[in-house]
């Protein structure tokens, strides 16, 4: 028997009493070799930073290994690698910052090579369910050029998925609407 899946509902304005974790923004332990910060600002359709959001990321380590439940390909060998970050703000300035390492390329089921990427979930008041996007890296030009997902995005919108090198790591903003609207995915 197949059951229908449970519907989502908005995370609302008060998630901060339950969801943020201490050190939630650390996908790797501080001091990890090659650690980078990933930062950006989330904007609404009026071009204003949104003060309340919950952002989560999930990714492989540089060797393409995950800190996952299933042990795919063996667990990450990086001590303290979580591969998962959760950043929640209830009345911030729209900005997020997390500590991680740059993921490696991954083989896909169809034999292509996925460029280094981080999967992103965004939850907020006013979002009735999760928005999914990805962070790619602007300095992975060769890998990005053959990435099977980027290939499905029009060249003018592809830019919205690229984190750009910045001091200590990378920067990428998320625009929920507007001329620079971020590409969001149906998963």
């Amino acid at each position: 028997m197949i059951f229908p899946s449970t519907a989502g509902q908005t995370v609302g304005p008060y998630f901060a009493i339950g969801l943020p974790w201490s050190e939630g923004s650390h996908a790797v332990a501080p001091g990890t070799a090659g650690a980078i910060t990933l930062r950006g600002v989330i904007y609404d359709g009026a071009g204003k930073p949104i003060p309340d959001f919950l952002l989560e990321t999930w990714q492989a380590d540089p060797a393409g290994r995950f800190a996952d439940l299933h042990g795919h390909g063996g667990p990450s060998e990086i001590v303290g690698f979580r591969g998962f970050a959760r950043v929640g703000h209830e009345d911030g300035d729209g900005s997020f910052e997390l500590l991680t390492v740059k993921p490696g390329p991954l083989a896909t089921a169809s034999g292509t090579i996925a460029a280094p990427h981080i999967d992103v979930s965004l939850f907020a008041r006013g979002l009735l369910h999760r928005c999914v996007t990805r962070f790619y890296f602007a300095d992975e030009e060769a890998a990005n050029a053959v990435d099977p997902v980027l290939a499905t995005v029009s060249p003018e919108r592809r830019e919205t998925l690229l984190a750009k090198p910045a001091e200590g790591g990378y920067e990428i903003d998320i625009h929920l609407q507007g001329p620079e609207e971020t590409v969001f995915f149906a998963l």
Binding site: P62, A67, G126
Partner: protein, 252 residues
């Protein structure tokens, strides 16, 4: 930080219980992101069509619990997190986390947060002039057992007003967050209580197009699990997307 040039590792090691894809959801089950009756969606919903994302290893894996937030013995009892007992209807909320094939998800984290009995959240943005309860924080965590079961002891939350429209009140609800076993299964939702007179007026509840899908967010009163001389019990089962091929998967 430049082109890594690393050779991708073979990642499709056979690992039991990991599907090669998860079912895509039928139309009508999930609320639309653009829903004018819920005013906050106006400036926050993406306007461009979503782009189809094939499921690969990043989407099929999910965080292991051990490295995340530890769950303490009292985290699933919201009535015992302070020196005294909170005021309100003591309530047991229990159920199972399953996938859409009915297979239990064991050892997965369930997080909840809610208003207190008077409908007030312990949050600085909540200005509803109802009393805070010094003995109630309103947040809990549980880990499912081998049958996918979770159980919380809490206080039944009160309904509360909000600014969406004239005389807007949210039906009483408990927020749920589930990590599942994979990025694809991640779910944030709300559980409601049976018979709430506010259902018909609530745009968040009614944003879900399918009536049966709305009904599945309403918990079921259980006399069997109600504890004599102690607490009423409400059952809420949660179904996360299970294994399933999609005809489009081959294309990418």
């Amino acid at each position: 930080m430049t082109d890594s040039g690393a050779t991708p590792r073979q990642i499709y090691d056979p690992v039991s219980e990991t599907p090669s894809s998860y079912v895509r959801e039928a139309p009508g089950i999930q609320p639309p992101l653009d829903f004018p009756e819920y005013k906050s969606t106006a400036l926050r919903h993406p306007k461009q069509p979503l782009i189809y994302l094939p499921q690969n290893i990043t989407e099929l894996t999910g965080p292991a619990l051990g490295s995340l937030a530890p769950v303490g013995d009292l985290d699933n009892d919201l009535t015992r997190q302070h020196g005294g007992a909170p005021i309100g209807e003591r309530t047991v909320v229990f159920g199972r986390v399953l996938d859409t094939e009915g297979k239990p998800l064991r050892n997965t984290m369930v997080e909840i947060w809610q208003a207190n009995a008077s409908g007030r959240y312990r949050h600085r943005w909540d200005r509803f002039p109802a009393p805070l309860d010094p003995n109630f924080s309103g947040a809990g965590r549980a880990i499912t057992d081998d049958e996918g079961r979770y159980r919380f002891v809490t206080i039944k939350p009160g309904p509360y007003p909000w600014g969406n429209h004239y005389n807007a009140w949210r039906p009483a609800h408990i927020h749920f967050s589930l990590l599942g076993r994979a990025f694809t299964q991640r779910l944030v939702t709300q559980m409601y209580f049976p018979g709430d007179p506010l259902f018909r007026y609530d745009p968040i509840f009614n944003s879900i197009p399918d009536a049966a899908a709305r009904k599945r967010l309403v918990s079921r009163f259980s006399i069997q699990d109600t504890e004599p001389d102690w607490a009423l019990a409400y059952e809420f089962d949660i179904y996360l997307r299970g294994p399933g091929a999609t005809p489009f998967e081959e294309a990418l």
